[in-house]
Symmetry: C2
Subunit: 255 residues, 2 copies
């Protein structure tokens, strides 16, 4: 499993991914799930992947080969006219690769892969897509402007409580890291290092790409601050009414 | 789906459950998942249920019938010598009921149910069990002294971060409610009202059983306090190093 999240804000895009790949518990490896494509001043995109590793590697590798050829060789992330067309293209490439391995001899085998594609083309708005294994893409809604793939449930509550389109890129990035941290703590199939990408709206420069190991000072400080903050927060939650009576020495109910 | 959690503390036991039962999205109903058995001063137990509604109703109903008969009619929650024996008994009853409905005509149908059993018998320690659909029970470990059934993932991170055996019953109860709230916000298959049970160690009186509707003032205050607290906490998280440079008017990095 893995866990990746993409957030579409008024100010741009935040993406975060873990690096754990596993098949059962005794085949664990570390692969980045964030792959970037940058044409300075023209367009930049990041593709986050989850699912069958052979499929995701083949998809990334084909998209990279296409992007290095020129337009006459067919569609590529370098030439497609919009982020939406790029999302459909990733879907078609993914589905073609899955079908290539489908065989009667292994009819039960699944080669599913799911992607998050985000980026901006000069003169257009930043956009964010989730691309299903079947190849069809969706965009997020302004009411819930994020998309997740992989082991998504552990990290969803904090996103549901905090993320709005007006949030700053940095606050959304901190929220994405807390969401990743929650998934890492609660599930062995999500693991470090964490990749964080920030694309500021209108600034087509490849974005800020930071990688955090578990012992990277910023991540250590963030995890500590969050955990201590939650514990303090618990001390300030409202008391049950029966807590006021048995102990006359206890303080009156909070605000 | 549903969501229930049980927490085993030095001071006793905390249990929480939601009330949503659904089969698809157009068959939604409200059933309590917390069922209590009390013999004042002698023993008290609560059984939390998740899974096939016909199975869980039949199990509860059989356990209630047995408990009303006297010992000569066979084992019952009223007479079994330990909480562990009670857990194995619940498992046997559950499996027998599932097998009763298994048929060749509907070989694909599942009648699975999962239970949390908690309580105390006078002179013994409070105990907590999760009983799998196959009928076999487990207890929690002191490193992670809680057990969950149903839609468990959304509410797990906050338990992982906060729960230790030394926590007070009231703080653990607030944590259980926050965990339920996280699952409710993020998943439609978990819904109010919430049942909260608190068994204080050595006090065999049926415990404190409280039910919270979404508009019960305490639950409203807890949800508000938690959400506002999280938002404040976000404002105090450490800044990224690049946040110090672009805006000279911004405050210096926090503690």
């Amino acid at each position: 499993m893995t866990y990746c999240v993409g957030i579409l804000l008024d100010d741009g895009i935040v993406l975060a991914s873990d690096s754990r790949t596993n098949a059962g518990v005794d085949q664990i490896a570390c692969y980045t799930k964030t792959h970037t494509f940058t044409w300075l001043g023209q367009r930049h995109m990041a593709l986050l992947s989850s699912g069958n590793l052979a499929t995701t590697q083949s998809v990334i590798s084909q998209l990279q080969r296409e992007a290095q050829l020129n337009d006459s060789h067919g569609p590529s992330l370098a030439s497609l006219g919009s982020m939406e067309e790029a999302a459909h293209h990733v879907g078609r490439v993914s589905l073609a690769i899955q079908e290539q391995y489908a065989s009667k001899a292994h009819a039960e085998a699944r080669f599913d892969a799911t992607f998050i594609l985000a980026g901006q083309i000069a003169g257009q708005s930043p956009q964010l897509f989730l691309i299903y294994p079947e190849g069809n893409p969706i965009t997020p809604s302004p009411y819930s402007p994020f998309l997740q793939i992989g082991e998504t449930k552990y990290g969803k509550p904090i996103l549901d409580r905090i993320i709005t389109p007006a949030l700053s890129l940095e606050n959304a990035a901190r929220c994405a890291l807390v969401s990743m941290d929650s998934a890492m703590r609660s599930n062995l199939s999500v693991g470090p290092p964490l990749d964080l990408m920030i694309y500021r709206r209108g600034q087509i420069d490849g974005g800020i790409h930071t990688r955090f190991e578990l012992n990277t000072p910023y991540l250590v400080a963030l995890r500590k601050s969050w955990n201590n903050g939650l514990k303090r927060l618990f001390q300030r939650l409202p008391e049950f009414n029966w807590e006021h009576f048995p102990h006359v020495q206890s303080p009156p109910p909070g605000e």
